[in-house]
């Protein structure tokens, strides 16, 4: 399928070809145009310019109900006056192609897969948020439409439920029967879902490709910023002989890291992921850049600790596995591995990205890091 839309307000013209039968994540902040795009795909809105094709057939003008799509919203949308069973059955009944018995079986089967078989004869209003969303999913799956659209389906659930349902998505969509488009604001969610990712920002399609690739080789600063949580550390720099000068006397030595690069010149932006920065470790090799910093806040996300720092280079964020305590204002040293550096040119285009494996630091350090990540500091 290939789509090409331009809706003046919400979306700038672009061309996007979804991998058939795969899962595509639309990643972007709120107002990035994800919902607009989904609505266009569904046919709820009509593009102000351009056309939409499904399997080679132009569906631009086709009425929603004649299209082969299913959609799940972030609000839990069900028919309040129908029982769960009737809700799930309704698209099947309407298609008119199935015998009542067959419908009955399909409903049962879906309910089992989504673990709501217990509530089939209740009204959606009587269920918890998570269960309501399961019902909505079941109804969407019932059609087994060739295009399945999900608009931030988990955003209104608390995070444990999100984890649970997200894992189920992976199995539910593994079949590859239908093309799934999943809109989210969370980079983490995109990574967990895998598949392909399309990064949207302010109505522009910035990059589209396999999720891991988009993550590890962002085309531009905008992509890197949109597809990093915690936000990637971005530091203005200028090219010098042995690497790049970050100002305030800090120079990152890139000679070891990137021989295979055209000579750098002029103004650059250095990008380092929070996970690639390290705190106060004895065994840093010589080429590591050591940056003095003060702790502004240690955010604990359960499995990781994000340490927000103030440094001569501006605000930095460091990610550490496990739960760690830092006093506000505590001073620490940050170690930056040249091998983990992203470089963007003056126009914001990516000129160098570290090899994926490398982002955690020099190989000889791996054991050390994993040992260290085992908590004690």
């Amino acid at each position: 399928m290939s789509r090409q839309e331009g809706a003046e307000v919400h979306l700038y013209p672009f061309d996007l070809q979804l991998e058939p039968g795969s899962l595509t994540v639309l990643l972007g902040a709120t107002q990035a145009g994800k919902t607009s795009l989904l609505r266009l795909m569904a046919g709820l809105d009509v593009p102000s310019r351009g056309r939409i094709w499904a399997d080679g057939r132009d569906v631009t003008g086709v009425a929603v109900r004649l299209r082969d799509v299913a959609m799940v919203y972030q609000q839990f949308i069900n028919y309040p006056s129908m029982t769960v069973a009737q809700n799930i059955a309704s698209p099947l009944k309407l298609s008119g192609r199935m015998a009542p018995v067959a419908i009955e079986q399909r409903v049962q089967e879906l309910a089992r897969r989504l673990r709501i078989e217990g509530f089939l004869d209740r009204l959606p209003g009587a269920l918890s948020g998570g269960q309501q969303q399961r019902v909505a999913l079941a109804r969407a799956l019932a059609k087994s439409a060739s295009l399945m659209l999900l608009d931030e389906p988990l955003v209104n659930l608390d995070y444990k439920l999100r984890e649970e349902l997200r894992d189920e998505f992976l199995t539910l969509f593994a079949g590859g029967g239908s093309t799934v488009v999943y809109a989210t604001t969370e980079p983490g969610e995109a990574l967990l879902l895998g598949g392909h990712t399309a990064v949207l920002d302010a109505g522009e399609l910035l990059q589209y490709g396999p999720t891991a690739e988009v993550f590890h080789r962002p085309k531009s600063i905008r992509v890197a910023r949109a597809f990093s949580d915690p936000p990637m550390n971005l530091i203005p720099a200028t090219a010098v002989a042995e690497g790049i000068d970050l100002g305030s006397g800090l120079v990152l030595d890139l000679r070891a890291a990137l021989q295979r690069l055209p000579r750098l010149a002029g103004a650059l932006t250095l990008g380092v992921r929070a996970g690639a920065l390290e705190l106060s470790s004895a065994q840093w090799p010589a080429n590591f850049l050591k940056i003095p910093a003060k702790v502004a806040l240690a955010e604990v996300s359960g499995s990781d600790t994000y340490i927000h720092l103030e440094s001569p280079l501006g605000g930095l964020v460091v990610q550490r596995t496990g739960v760690h305590r830092f006093a506000l204002g505590e001073s620490v040293t940050v170690g930056m591995d040249p091998g983990a550096a992203y470089l963007f040119d003056a126009k914001g285009a990516m000129v160098f990205a570290p090899s994926p494996v490398h982002t955690a630091g020099a190989p000889d350090l791996l054991r050390a890091k994993s040992a260290q990540s085992a908590g004690t500091r």
Binding site: A42, L44, R65, M71, Y73, Q75, I77, Y79, S81
Partner: protein
């Protein structure tokens, strides 16, 4: 919030003020005219059903009620049925001149019936609708349809548009969606709307009286004419009055839970 001291006394005081006049009429409706005029008393001494008997047996009287109920019913049905799709359109879509149409509808709710009096008289005479239930029902549409659209629009806007979209995606046609899914969702709204249509059509006198003479003469008109004609039969008049309150009281009891909601949108 905690109950404040002044509340209950004030409430009771008001209720007395609200109910006393009504009670007085009820009281009189159970007395004979002579009794009323001769002696003054706060409760019926010689209790009698006679006045009600008069009304329920004399066709001139009870046909009045029947007529009123007929045109109120017709009006209610028409108002709600035409208002439903319109309200949906206003609550869901933007279209050329929507705001202006809505405003224009509201102006009709606000126009004094007196203004329409004359032209209605002419118009209905020419199309030969004079003195029919339909005439009054149609006349009352002037203020009831805008009202119905207004109230329903409020209720419909409270229902997420995603439900409509999901339905269309599931393959519902508009009519089927509207009847099987949407209407059940706004039951309350329809109830409230019907109530207000009933109320405003039931209480209106001016048009009802002007557009009818004999066959469709509403109770309200019957009463005023009795007043002007045969001296003052207070007792019967009171009984008639009491009977006009009954239907309203019944209706309001049924939708009491929705009233507040209906008013909540200030759509009255």
């Amino acid at each position: 919030m905690k109950e404040a001291r002044w509340r209950s006394p004030f409430l009771i005081a008001y209720l007395v003020f609200a109910l006393l006049p009504i009670y007085w009429m009820v009281n009189m409706s159970f007395r004979t005219n002579e009794d009323i005029l001769s002696s003054f008393s706060v409760f019926p001494k010689h209790f009698t059903w006679a006045n009600y008997a008069v009304i329920l047996t004399d066709p001139a009287w009870y046909s009045g009620y029947v007529n009123s109920l007929i045109y109120v019913a017709i009006n209610m049905v028409i108002s709600v049925t035409v208002a439903l799709p319109a309200a949906y359109a206003f609550s869901r879509y933007r279209f050329l001149g929507d705001r202006h149409v809505f405003f224009w509808l509201l102006t009709n709710r606000m126009t004094p019936p007196a203004i329409f009096l004359l032209p209605f008289f002419q118009l209905y005479s020419t199309v030969g609708l004079m003195d029919t239930h339909l005439a009054v029902a149609l006349a009352h549409l002037v203020f009831n349809v805008p009202l119905a659209v207004w109230i329903l629009e409020g209720f419909m806007s409270g229902i997420p548009r995603e439900i409509d979209e999901t339905a269309y995606i599931d393959g519902y046609t508009f009519p089927r969606f509207f009847l099987t899914i949407f209407l059940p969702l706004i039951k309350a709204g329809i109830g409230v709307t019907a109530f207000f249509c009933f109320m405003f059509s039931w209480v209106e006198l001016l048009l009802a009286r002007t557009l009818t003479s004999v066959d469709a003469k509403p109770i309200v008109a019957t009463m005023t004419r009795t007043v002007s004609a045969s001296g003052m039969d207070w007792a019967v008049l009171a009984a008639a009055g009491v009977l006009t309150i009954v239907p309203g009281a019944i209706v309001i009891w049924f939708i009491r839970h929705y009233i507040a909601k209906g008013f909540a949108m200030g759509r009255v």
